[in-house]
């Protein structure tokens, strides 16, 4: 059958035959394939019941070559497509990824990049299957689908997927999925990770597994909707072309491979590759972890009492993100978040698929380094993200705009749990105490005076945070982020092309951000920017956590420093710039106040909601450090001298925490240790520990009394109250620990 759109086919050089159901393998519908896959997994715990990886065993070179070829095609699509056409965020720091799925939606391989999406595209494909797309809407060669609906299969609203079915000889042999992070997705405010959203209806443009094109061409009405629904239509257009071009490159590469090796060989390979992924995870667990039970917990503050816009969100909230993990005798891994907070009127709600994605982001960096990550590892982990919790709301009405606000803190706890296993086995080099959570620094936009054109403010140099320490070395300084470990800071000049009205005044190491320990966390950094020749500029700051910590250190290491906010309005810089006299830093909190006259707004919160900025107003943000490892008194003095000379810490902090005393020559950055004073100070720290500590028994008794008196802050009560309302298992353990009566409750008005 020839194309039903011959004129368009001629334009786009496509000539697709229409297909009718069934379009799956060997005469099956996609639903039949999905049912069969799930049945095998249920009955055998193995992907398609594969007991033995026959091809891998008998033709290992062919097998590995096929995997390398597919992986290469995905990486190539990513690296090439972003240079064909892409927005600055996508091009500069690679905020994109491509995945290849089986017809029933299981990931065979993924590119590098934002691999959190390994499983989100999978869920979108399964949604289309389960909702009968094959029969109603139909799935045709050359079709283009789009999804960014978090409740179905996405991380947050601003991540947009283009999904393309790949056919061969009338069968759907795979799906290609490309995802990019948009600079703007519409919604209540400017910016890509919005802070003010309290429900879906403020999140912006949504596509729910929507068919947005056919014959390789995107529909005009979809293009118009997106162009009119986002604030940066040019970037949208560039990124959509990037995703589509990448998917078509993958389609071409797969088609070429299938024609070469034969369809049956490819089919066998695809299933074995997923089962291998499952088996690999189990064997890695046995090789590197220790059987047993691991527990940790993270916390996510939402300090919205003063900042919130919507009356329902005008309160301080704290989300509870507990993680219990079990490593069983067979190498199976269980992850259980029983006790997680309920969803709420904030943008940190996170769908189950995104939480799964966070797991793959983590596992590829600690257990599965070799790139063979796919849905096999998903099948190997038994994860419980409780229905109706903030980590699996099962309700599209909530806002999911900034779901990283749940993913990032949660995986701090997961990494610590896994790291305890590494340590017990002697793999100290693999220990990682966590990371600084990026938040989203400044977001917003404005208009240029000269052209009247809109510019976005969306700096992605936030992808360079301090990494957590390991058990053998310090964390990486200002060069890491958990959600895209390949990222770099990007050139300032490149960001200024995008964010023309907010040039940079400086980048500088931020002292005292790194978590203390025998091995310290990686250091954070700071930057100061000014509004220049622009009008109608509004921006907000969204860095977490500010008012609390979200995580701890490990084995005696401390959590990293918390974040804060400062901005300056109505400054005196108009006259000073001509003399090249301008501020560059808030190196120690308060320094900026000395360098500028103006209205300084400074708070403990890492967050402020959209605020108007005038020309010569200053925006400041800093990136955090990573958590520390081990007792700070075990840190060698020479390492501290280096920290002081590199401005990682200031002398007062080092003296108090590490007990190293001396003189810092600020001009030459040379520190001279006073050995006698250091010895005395270190001894004094040991004595303080003895003098100022007490038995845990007495602390527990006092804390129990405090709980009964209700002497807790509102957000802490809000946290306990939410968990008390929805999770009896966690609450029972809570009462048991504190020896509280069965009817003990924590309520909040």
């Amino acid at each position: 059958m020839s194309s039903e759109h011959p004129e368009r086919a001629a334009e786009t050089d496509t000539d697709y035959d229409r297909v009718d159901p069934p379009i799956g393998w060997d005469g099956k519908t996609l639903q039949e394939m999905l049912d069969e896959s799930e049945r095998h997994l249920e009955e055998t715990d193995r992907y398609y019941g594969l007991d033995r990886l026959e091809m891998k065993a008998e033709n290992p070179f062919d097998y590995e070559r096929m995997f390398a070829r597919l992986r290469g095609a995905l990486v190539n699509a990513r690296e090439t497509a972003l240079h064909i056409s892409a927005s600055a965020i996508v091009r500069e720091i690679g905020e994109l990824a491509f995945q290849l799925y089986t017809p029933e939606g299981d990931c065979i391989a993924t590119s590098t990049g934002i691999i959190v999406h390994v499983h989100t595209g999978s869920l979108a494909v399964k949604y289309m299957i389960e909702n009968g797309y094959e029969h109603g809407r139909t799935i045709q060669p050359g079709d283009v689908f789009c999804n960014n609906d978090n409740d179905i299969g996405n991380v947050h609203t601003t991540d947009v997927h283009t999904i393309v079915p790949i056919f061969h000889d009338g069968e759907l042999i795979a799906w290609a999925d490309g995802v990019t992070h948009e600079v703007d997705i519409g919604g209540a405010t400017r910016g890509h990770d919005q802070v003010s959203s309290t429900s879906r209806y403020e999140d912006g443009l949504y596509a729910t597994c929507e068919k947005i094109g056919e014959d390789d061409e995107v529909y005009q009405d979809w293009k118009d909707r997106a162009q009119r629904g986002t604030r940066t239509p040019m970037f949208w257009d560039l990124d959509e072309k990037c995703r589509l071009a990448g998917c078509h490159m993958i389609r071409d590469a797969l088609t070429e491979m299938v024609e070469e090796v034969g369809t049956d060989t490819y089919k066998q390979f695809a299933r074995e590759a997923i089962e291998e992924g499952r088996q690999t995870l189990e064997s890695r667990v046995q090789e590197r972890l220790f059987p047993g039970t691991y527990r940790d917990a993270s916390f996510m503050p939402a300090p919205f009492e003063e900042e919130g816009w919507n009356p329902v969100s005008k309160k301080n909230m704290l989300n509870h993100l507990p993680v219990e993990m079990e490593v069983d005798a067979e190498g199976g891994l269980e992850l259980d978040m029983t006790g997680a907070s309920p969803p709420g009127p904030h943008p940190y709600n996170c769908a189950e698929g995104s939480m799964q994605g966070g797991l793959w982001v983590s596992l590829t960096q600690c257990l599965l380094h070799d790139g063979k990550v796919n849905d096999g590892s998903y099948f190997a982990v038994d994860a419980n993200f409780p229905d109706g919790s903030v980590v699996n709301p099962q309700d599209p009405d909530y806002s999911y705009h900034t779901s990283w606000g749940s993913i990032m803190p949660t995986y701090q706890a997961v990494w610590k749990n896994i790291s305890r296993g590494f340590f017990a086995r002697g793999f100290r080099e693999e220990v990682n105490t966590g990371y600084s959570e990026s938040g989203d620094t400044i977001q917003g936009g404005g208009f240029r005076e000269a052209t009247g054109e809109y510019f976005a403010i969306a700096p992605f140099d936030l992808s360079c945070q301090g990494m957590g320490a390991s058990a053998v070395r310090d964390g990486l300084d200002y060069a890491y982020t958990m959600w895209n470990p390949e990222t770099d800071m990007g050139d300032i000049e490149e960001w200024e092309l995008l964010e023309q009205g907010a040039p940079f005044l400086s980048r500088h190491i931020k002292p005292n951000t790194a978590g203390h320990g025998k091995y310290r966390g990686g250091s954070g950094w700071e930057t100061l920017r000014v509004i220049d020749e622009s009008f109608d500029v509004s921006a907000y700051k969204h860095v977490r956590p500010g008012v609390t910590n979200s995580t701890s250190g490990m084995h005696g290491g401390y959590p990293q420093a918390a974040n804060y906010s400062v901005r300056v309005h109505d400054t005196d810089l108009d006259e000073r710039f001509e003399e090249a006299d301008y501020p560059v830093s808030d190196r120690l909190p308060g320094d900026l106040d000395e360098q500028v006259d103006g209205d300084v707004v400074r708070t403990e919160r890492g967050v402020y909601f959209p605020t108007t900025f005038e020309n010569y107003d200053l925006m400041y943000y800093h990136m955090g450090g990573g958590p520390g490892y081990g007792d700070p008194l075990d840190r060698p003095i020479e390492a501290l001298v280096e920290d002081l000379e590199d401005e990682v810490y200031t002398p007062d902090v080092v003296e108090r925490v590490y007990g190293v005393v001396g003189e810092l020559d600020e001009a030459d950055r040379e520190f001279t240790v006073d050995e006698e004073a250091t010895e005395q100070r270190r001894e004094a720290i040991r004595e303080e520990r003895e003098r100022e500590s007490r038995s845990v028994e007495s602390f527990v008794a006092e804390e129990r009394e405090r709980l009964q008196d209700g002497d807790l802050s509102y957000p802490v009560r809000w946290m306990y109250s939410g968990v008390f309302d929805r999770d009896s298992e966690w609450v029972e353990a809570f009462r048991e620990f504190w020896d509280l009566p069965e009817d003990f409750e924590i309520e909040v008005e």
Binding site: E287, A297, F423, G426, G553, D631, W738
Partner: protein
């Protein structure tokens, strides 16, 4: 493949040069005898004879003691049996007020005191080494963060009896 024993000693000491860490220790496949060698090195370094079964952190181990499996500190102090939460036997210092947290980080870079958030420091009662730090809201239970399944590890994963004579 076995990593050189001196490299493991340096790994434990934190003195292994980056080039060796990168080339010999970090890459896959991992050293298959890492656990055994690590235990050997650690055992030689402590001043007591109880057999180390599991290293819990730099200063704490599960050991095979005369009274069964115990959590024991490097300094020799025994905290509790292996199944219990050793943190409950520690000395604790809690930082919640501004003057207490400000010793760690500058003002504005510590938790807001209005949020009743705590930094809990757990010290060894024997030597006052800092064994763990928790950053949690007031009223949060003290978690037992790791319960190793020692029998499964030795008997099923290593294929040998637990070296505790039991």
């Amino acid at each position: 493949m076995a990593t050189d024993r001196t490299q493991i000693e340096k790994l434990i000491d934190g003195t292994l040069p980056w080039s060796e860490l990168r080339d010999d220790v970090l890459p896959d496949p991992k050293d298959t005898e890492r656990f055994e060698t690590t235990i050997e090195v650690l055992q030689e370094r402590v001043d007591w004879d109880d057999r180390i079964l599991v290293p819990l952190n730099d200063h704490l181990f599960v050991v095979a003691g005369e009274d069964g499996r115990r959590v024991k500190a490097e300094c020799g102090h025994e905290l509790c049996d292996a199944e219990s939460n050793w943190k409950l036997e520690c000395r604790i210092r809690v930082r919640e007020d501004q003057d207490e947290t400000a010793e760690l980080y500058p003002e504005l870079m510590t938790p807001d005191t209005a949020w009743t958030f705590q930094i809990r420091e757990f010290f060894c009662p024997g030597c006052y080494a800092l064994l763990d730090v928790e950053a949690v809201p007031a009223g949060y239970p003290i978690l037992q963060k790791f319960e190793p399944d020692i029998d499964t590890f030795y008997e099923e994963w290593l294929g040998e009896p637990v070296p505790d004579g039991g």
